[in-house]
């Protein structure tokens, strides 16, 4: 291997001076954003988009809101959705029948029991199975297992209740699936605090995720 021919050009990556890539020109900025969201179907954060577009997050945010508006006013079948920590292009909900047909999927279904269980966990998290059972008046084991399997809830340690049962919280996938930006964006439970002033400390109204004693 020592007798390399003279015409061998040494390989060098990264040592060459890379030309600096700037942001897209202003007239193409929104289009570039749209293209990025199309090219990567994951939920993209404003930071990721601003890195790709060599622009400030605030610039990206402004353009995202503009793009969201554009999809709605343009009669497009695409919507720009804010879900969890980022943004994603999704098809318009009014077109679900036909889109499901072309995707060849059975629509995602959640039973009444699953939705109720999910609601209790979303508003009371972290919460033990015992409390969920108590609120719903039925054993939620089967439903809870299904929600865990679907990744909509997860166990987050043990509660201080007797026996230290596992406590459960919703996951980012829950936010993604329901198109919710953050738990604090959930609508408030109607009059929950006013309803039972003596009992208020037993019910987490808002904000979410805080423990009852805080």
């Amino acid at each position: 291997m020592s007798d390399l021919p003279d015409n061998v050009i040494p390989l060098s990556f990264g040592e060459t001076t890379a030309p600096t890539v700037g942001p897209p020109p202003p007239e193409l900025f929104q289009a570039a954003l749209e293209a990025c969201l199309f090219a990567n179907p994951a939920i993209l954060t404003e930071n990721q988009l601003s890195t790709a577009l060599r622009s400030s997050p605030s610039q990206v945010r402004e353009a995202l809101l503009g793009l969201q508006q554009k999809f709605e006013t343009l009669g497009s079948g695409i919507r720009l959705i804010q879900a969890g920590e980022g943004w994603q292009l999704r098809t318009d909900a009014r077109l679900s029948t036909w889109v499901a047909a072309i995707r060849g999927v059975r629509p995602f279904k959640l039973s009444r029991a699953a939705l109720e269980t999910l609601a209790v966990i979303a508003y009371r998290q972290p919460v033990s199975k015992g409390v969920v059972d108590e609120i719903r008046g039925v054993d939620c084991g089967g439903v809870l297992r299904m929600l865990l399997e679907r990744g909509l809830v997860r166990s987050v340690g043990r509660s201080d209740e007797p026996g230290h049962p596992l406590s459960y919280s919703t996951t980012p996938a829950f936010l993604h699936t329901f198109g919710i930006r953050s738990l604090s964006d959930l609508p408030t439970l109607r009059d929950l605090r006013a309803l039972s002033p003596d009992d208020a400390e037993s019910v987490n109204v808002l904000p979410f995720g805080e423990s009852r004693d805080s």
């Binding site: 015409n7 994951a42 890195t51 679900s96 039925v138 198109g179 919710i180």
Partner: protein
């Protein structure tokens, strides 16, 4: 979790599909809420005696109810019966009515709480759900690159890099699609003898390298062994793994190849 309540229906003649009306309840609280709504009253004003009777009546008609679920329903039935009994009992005169806590309070509170969560569940269900109402493009595991790769190379540069790699790898061996060459041992021996002399040594490796083809080299190797076996050629190796030197014992002209009992080579 849900149980169906089959509303009693008359026996139908064979072959006639029964118009089955079933109501599905998600547990005892759900059933109780439905009953209260049927009465058209507020939860706070729930008429315990009547609701209790309705509830028990429904419970009797519960079909396909498993043991676990039945327990949940029965606990509430017991609570309702207890409340009803308390209502029917005469109040002690000594305690003023307004001072007495409403025995229904705990149950009412549970029902109101439960109703709030049901509303929250409705609100969740009303949202456009991913993969039910809205669809995203299928996930492809596209890595999100924080620092995009910048290959600072144009097509010419790419060509040069390719050439450099190929040069490092060395020239690819030319692969012939040749019909089997009819080499013969006799031919190989003659070729070898021409290159040997009694007066000088010939280095085996040089002979090998002078032949480009692998098959030719095999024949040369076999020829050397053959001639050494017959004593026509002397092999000498001074050092371990050193070069092997060949010297013929007679001049090439004195050797009759046909006299050598050459072994057939497949």
């Amino acid at each position: 979790m849900s149980v169906a309540v089959a509303v009693s229906m008359p026996l139908l003649p064979a072959g006639v599909e029964p118009a089955v009306r079933t109501e599905v309840y998600d547990g005892p609280l759900d059933l109780l809420l439905v009953l209260i709504r049927k009465e058209g009253v507020e939860i706070r004003d729930v008429p315990i005696a009547r609701i209790c009777d309705n509830y028990l009546e429904h419970l009797n008609r519960l079909q396909e109810i498993d043991v676990d679920t039945a327990g949940d329903y029965l606990v509430l039935a017991a609570t309702l019966c207890q409340l009803k009994a308390r209502e029917l009992l005469p109040r002690p005169e000594s305690v003023p009515v307004e001072d007495e806590p409403d025995p229904r309070e705990a149950l009412v509170q549970r029902l109101l709480d439960y109703e709030r969560y049901r509303e929250a569940a409705d609100a969740l269900a009303a949202r456009p759900l991913l993969d039910r109402d809205m669809f995203a493009r299928p996930a492809q595991d596209v890595p999100i690159s924080e620092q995009p790769v910048e290959a600072n190379v144009d097509s010419m540069g790419l060509g040069l890099i390719y050439a450099a790699i190929m040069a490092r790898l060395g020239k690819p061996e030319v692969v012939h699609a040749v019909e089997a060459e009819r080499l013969s041992m006799a031919e190989a021996v003659r070729w070898l003898l021409k290159r040997l002399s009694p007066d000088a040594e010939t280095v085996f490796a040089e002979l090998m390298l002078s032949l480009p083809d692998r098959r030719q080299r095999i024949f040369l190797f076999l020829s050397v062994l053959e001639l050494a076996r017959s004593g026509t050629v002397e092999l000498r190796q001074v050092l371990h793994l050193g070069s092997i030197r060949l010297r013929s014992q007679k001049a090439a002209s004195e050797i009759n190849v046909d006299d050598l009992a050459l072994q057939a080579v497949p």
